[in-house]
């Protein structure tokens, strides 16, 4: 928290998510209060089913909470409709996913260009070329995701995530589908880029080692934020 702005960029108040299942209502998340400052890197930790991804979805405005509210870059997400939230995402948010989520019908370069083109940027191509070079994939511009290895695909996804120079980057288990060596290279790259772009990072993982590289760790258990690290069950 040394050289970055100290203002809050994500705030969650009384956040809860309840779904209806065959067995009755189920609270996936409840009573989440959370503030993340600009430039901060935060790891959200927890075992499978603890509600990590649900929290990420709510914070990023991909989903709406059943209770409480989220402020993202000073926008109250619950007051916006889906298109409004999409606009906020387009302006402030980047994503990295466990399953990469590249569009199979676009080349590596086109995948990186996509958010820039959606924002109507004239320099989409040159920016994308630059970013691909930054993740060491200059030679792979015209390859389709199918023709890339998992690590390469995730690097393309990283380049895409940083293309819009988002204020906030949400990463959902970014190494979950990769072997440990490749995973480590991806994480190094992620943190490098994060530093270069001074991005706020919200990283969902179950990997304590990876979490340790973040400035702050938030532990989830059964849909609640818990103070102490949770022992693996």
């Amino acid at each position: 928290m040394s050289d970055t702005r100290l203002n809050t960029i994500i705030a969650a108040r009384g956040l809860g998510k309840r779904v209806t299942t065959a067995a009755g209502p189920l609270d996936i998340l409840s009573d989440i209060d959370l503030e993340i400052n600009a430039g901060e890197s935060v790891a959200v930790l927890g075992v499978s089913g603890s509600g990590k991804s649900t929290l990420l979805g709510l914070l990023a405005g991909l989903d709406l909470p059943s209770q409480g509210e989220v402020l993202l870059a000073d926008e109250a997400l619950h007051l916006l409709d889906e298109d409004g939230r999409a606009r906020v995402r387009g302006q402030h948010v980047g994503f990295v996913f466990q399953s990469f989520q590249l569009l199979p019908s676009l080349t590596a370069l086109e995948n990186v260009m996509l958010p820039l083109e959606l924002a109507g940027r004239q320099d989409a191509r040159s920016q994308a070329v630059e970013l691909l070079a930054r993740v060491d994939l200059a030679a792979r511009e015209t390859h389709y995701p199918k023709q890339l290895s998992g690590g390469e695909q995730q690097r393309v996804a990283l380049a895409r995530a940083f293309a819009m120079q988002p204020a906030i980057l949400f990463a959902d288990e970014p190494t979950g589908n990769l072997d440990s060596a490749t995973g480590k290279r991806i994480i190094d790259l992620l943190f490098d880029l994060n530093r270069e772009h001074r991005t706020t990072l919200v990283l969902v993982t179950h990997d304590e080692q990876l979490a340790a590289r973040c400035q702050r760790r938030i532990h989830l258990d059964g849909g609640h934020i818990v103070a102490a690290p949770v022992e693996p069950r």
Partner: protein, 832 residues
């Protein structure tokens, strides 16, 4: 994102998806739908415009007066006085002889200024391009329709005999104004000069002749003359103006358009089903993309803005291609119907293209839009939870859109909402019935699968698992097979029925126009050659004009007003002897003292149609003379017997004084045909109707029309294939995965192939069975309710339809499934 960038991106996505084969089925289905409808559109447009453009041309004049006998010279003088051009033609049926060949022809004798409007087209010989000519045949010349030339095996330069006169054939007559009046006419034309008519000896008192007087001039003068004539003509005259001529052909064309249009519609609907299936798969394959786009900040509108332009591009490109195919395909229709076209087709025009595009857009909009709209509703959360699919499109939206699309298309062809709804309801009921049957057959197959080998089990399982998708394919193919089977059956059965109604030894020829003074000679001729024949009947041509002193048109019901018997001259006869197959069902036959009494015996069906009862007073007109007679009996007649039969029979001594000819029917077997030539050479006025040729001519027309419909049905079959490929594509991922898995588990490529082959062959066979059932049902309804043919079980269809289905669908499906066999299981698992 700017609109331009969005379009660019959409285009790039389209190109990518196209390479991946995503939209090919969609596009192919649109091409089929558009091609089918534009082919018919171009065809009917060119004909109907040909009709409008040539309205005066095809009449050969601005006004035509038809009369069974020469008209008052004063009428013609009146026309000349009004500065109208006048020319005269004489039409009659006559045997035309060349060496041993003879053929009944529709002879038309014309003056050298024929036609007044439009032009004749001729060719110097058979099979060479034709060109307009501005003359008519010179005296001594004859121009023959190509069909007549073929039949008689004559070439330009040969001689033919018409009655007692020899004419030199100089040209092939390819188009003639006035053809329209006998559109779809039976006898091929021979055109000759009026100057030669007398020499033929054909024209005798009582001969069946048709004099046509053609008038042309300024519109106002023609109108005034028409009004002048209208006050003078009798019921035996007929005035045909441009409008009447147009109406007659117009309604024939409209009917043709309706049949072809409905056949087209089946193709369009099936294409729509294929489109809906392909669009659904396309949409599902793009859920992830839509979610990602939403994640990256695209609004719902922007997401649609990426996908809809692709749809629009496919629609436009595929419609354009469809129009092109349709444009080419219309020549097939023109070719198949070439002999029957009432007018020379006009040049192509743009509107069928517009209509084609409209068909493409409506079909695509109605069937593809609802599944595609789901893309808008994909939640961005799907990037985290892959299982999150958008809510399915609401059923009313999907079916509502498709239904509206259907109604619009159907209405275009029927032009009538009641008919549209009736056809739609009938089709829906039929589809539901056949669909259920297909489903039941699948269920039966599933029950039986324990008794069959592994390949068949695999096939049956696959079909059953894809339940309604399989039923849709079965339905598509069964409809195509059914339509073709019904058309073919109706054609052959109708023709067979006509043929079998001509048993051996029953008269198969009619001789008409036998002159009273030749009566003895003709009888002697038949006796000398031992030809079995019926009695010789006298014939007087006259019109029924009044019923109980009311003009017939007013005395009968509205439907009966169009009855042919009221609108032409009837053959009246007299005899003392009741024909053996006639039966009196009311009243009594003649007693000797009825001779000379004004009495008449009326054919029972005609009496019923016109509402004529016993004791009614019927008024007749023969030439300029009128007389009346009281109905004293009603008779049933066996029209099928091919003996001379008459609506009106009088006792001797009532109409004997009118101009009379005689007719008889006789039997000749094929070997004795040369006798006909001798007969017409000795008695040139006599016309011989050969029943086998008449049937052949009707058959020719019928065959051409049904071929044209079958031609359009090819598009239905193609649309069936589109449905198959759409269904294949939507199950391809699953099949690829299963195939890889099976191979990984040790299944051989051969086993996999056999399994798929079994699946598609079975699908086709079931479709064939369903088609056979539908055919049976439909032909039964048609035969018993409409055509009044003897219905028999169509066992051949039950064999051929499943066989054809199994072969066609088996081959096509197997072709579509090749990737499953060709891919290495390793590659698949890596991709999966």
């Amino acid at each position: 994102m700017s609109r331009l960038a969005r379009w660019r991106l959409a285009l790039r996505l389209l190109v990518r998806d196209w390479r991946a084969g995503e939209q090919r089925v969609l596009a192919a289905a649109v091409v089929i739908a558009v091609a089918a409808s534009t082919a018919v559109g171009f065809f009917t447009d060119r004909l109907s415009r040909g009709m409008v453009n040539q309205s005066a041309d095809f009449l050969g004049a601005d006004l035509v007066l038809e009369s069974p006998r020469p008209i008052d010279e004063a009428w013609l003088e009146q026309a000349s006085a009004r500065d109208l051009k006048v020319t005269e033609t004489l039409q009659f049926a006559s045997m035309v002889v060349h060496e041993d060949a003879l053929q009944l022809a529709g002879v038309k004798a014309v003056q050298s200024d024929f036609p007044l409007r439009g032009e004749l087209r001729t060719a110097p010989a058979l099979y060479v391009p034709d060109a307009p000519v501005d003359t008519a045949p010179e005296a001594g010349e004859a121009w023959l329709a190509p069909r007549l030339m073929q039949r008689l095996q004559v070439q330009a330069g040969d001689y033919v005999e018409v009655g007692e006169h020899r004419l030199r054939v100089t040209r092939a007559l390819t188009f003639e104004p006035g053809q329209a009046a006998q559109a779809f006419g039976l006898s091929p034309r021979l055109l000759m000069n009026m100057a030669d008519v007398a020499a033929t000896g054909v024209v005798q008192p009582g001969s069946r002749l048709s004099y046509h007087y053609l008038f042309a001039g300024p519109e106002a003068a023609v109108d005034r003359y028409r009004n002048w004539l209208a006050d003078r003509i009798t019921p035996s005259h007929e005035l045909v103006g441009v409008r009447e001529g147009q109406r007659a052909i117009g309604s024939a064309l409209e009917r043709a358009e309706r049949y072809l249009g409905l056949a087209t519609l089946v193709a369009v609907v099936l294409a729509g089903v294929a489109i809906a299936m392909a669009a659904r798969r396309y949409s599902e394959r793009h859920f992830d993309m839509s979610a990602m786009l939403r994640c990256l900040g695209a609004s719902q509108r922007e997401v649609l803005g990426l996908f809809l332009p692709q749809l629009a591009l496919v629609a436009v490109l595929a419609s354009a291609l469809g129009c092109l195919v349709g444009w080419a395909a219309q020549y097939g229709l023109l070719y198949l119907l070439r002999d029957l076209l009432p007018v020379a087709p006009s040049g192509t025009r743009a509107w069928p293209i517009l209509a084609g595009f409209a068909t493409g857009l409506v079909t695509l909009g109605g069937f593809a839009l609802p599944p595609l709209l789901r893309l808008r509703a994909v939640s961005p959360l799907r990037v985290l939870r892959r299982d999150l699919a958008p809510l399915p499109s609401q059923a009313w939206l999907v079916y509502g859109a498709a239904l509206i699309a259907l109604l619009l298309l159907m209405w275009r062809y029927t032009g009538n909402w009641a008919l549209t709804l009736a056809v739609l309801a009938g089709a829906a009921a039929m589809a539901a019935l056949l669909g259920l049957l297909g489903f039941a057959l699948l269920a039966i197959g599933r029950l039986g699968q324990r008794q069959v080998g592994v390949a068949w089990r695999f096939g049956i399982n696959n079909l059953w698992r894809r339940g309604w998708g399989s039923v849709a394919q079965i339905l598509a193919f069964s409809l195509a097979l059914l339509a073709m089977a019904v058309i073919t059956l109706v054609r052959t059965d109708l023709l067979d029925a006509w043929r079998t109604q001509l048993p051996d030894d029953v008269p198969n020829h009619f001789a008409i126009n036998i002159l009273p003074e030749q009566l003895d000679a003709v009888e002697a001729f038949f006796n000398a050659h031992d030809v079995p024949r019926s009695q010789l009947y006298p014939m007087v041509r006259g019109r029924l004009t009044t019923i109980n002193e009311q003009p017939v048109q007013r005395a009968v019901t509205k439907e009966a007003q169009a009855d042919n018997a009221l609108n032409r001259e009837l053959n009246l006869t007299w005899t003392m002897q009741l024909q053996e197959d006639n039966r009196i069902i009311a009243g009594r036959w003649w007693r000797p003292d009825d001779r000379g009494q004004p009495l008449v015996s009326v054919e029972a069906q005609l009496a019923e149609r016109l509402g004529i009862g016993m004791g009614d007073e019927l008024g007749f007109r023969v030439g300029a003379q009128a007389f009346s007679a009281r109905v004293i009996s009603l008779r049933t007649v066996e029209w099928d017997s091919f003996r001379p039969n008459f609506y009106m029979v009088f006792p001797p001594g009532v109409i004997d004084d009118f101009a009379t000819t005689y007719m008889t029917s006789f039997y000749l077997d094929a070997d004795d045909k040369p006798l006909l030539a001798e007969l017409v050479q000795r008695f040139p006025a006599v016309s011989v109707l050969e029943m086998d040729q008449l049937i052949e001519q009707v058959e020719r027309i019928f065959r051409q029309v049904t071929l044209a419909v079958e031609y359009v049905l090819v598009f239905v079959l193609l649309a069936g294939f589109a449905v198959l490929f759409a269904a294949l594509q939507s199950s391809l991922d699953e099949r690829l995965y299963e195939g890889a898995l099976l191979r990984a588990l040790g299944g051989s490529r051969r086993q996999l192939r056999a399994g798929h082959l079994a699946e598609f062959a079975l699908l086709g066979a079931v479709a064939g069975l369903v088609a056979a059932f539908g055919t049976e049902l439909l032909t039964w309804l048609l035969y018993t309710q409409v055509l009044h043919l003897d219905y028999s079980f169509k066992w051949l269809v039950w064999i051929l339809a499943p066989l054809a289905g199994a072969l066609l669908v088996g081959a096509a499906g197997f072709h579509g499934i090749r990737p499953v066999l060709q891919r290495s299981p390793m590659l698949l698992l890596r991709e999966g």
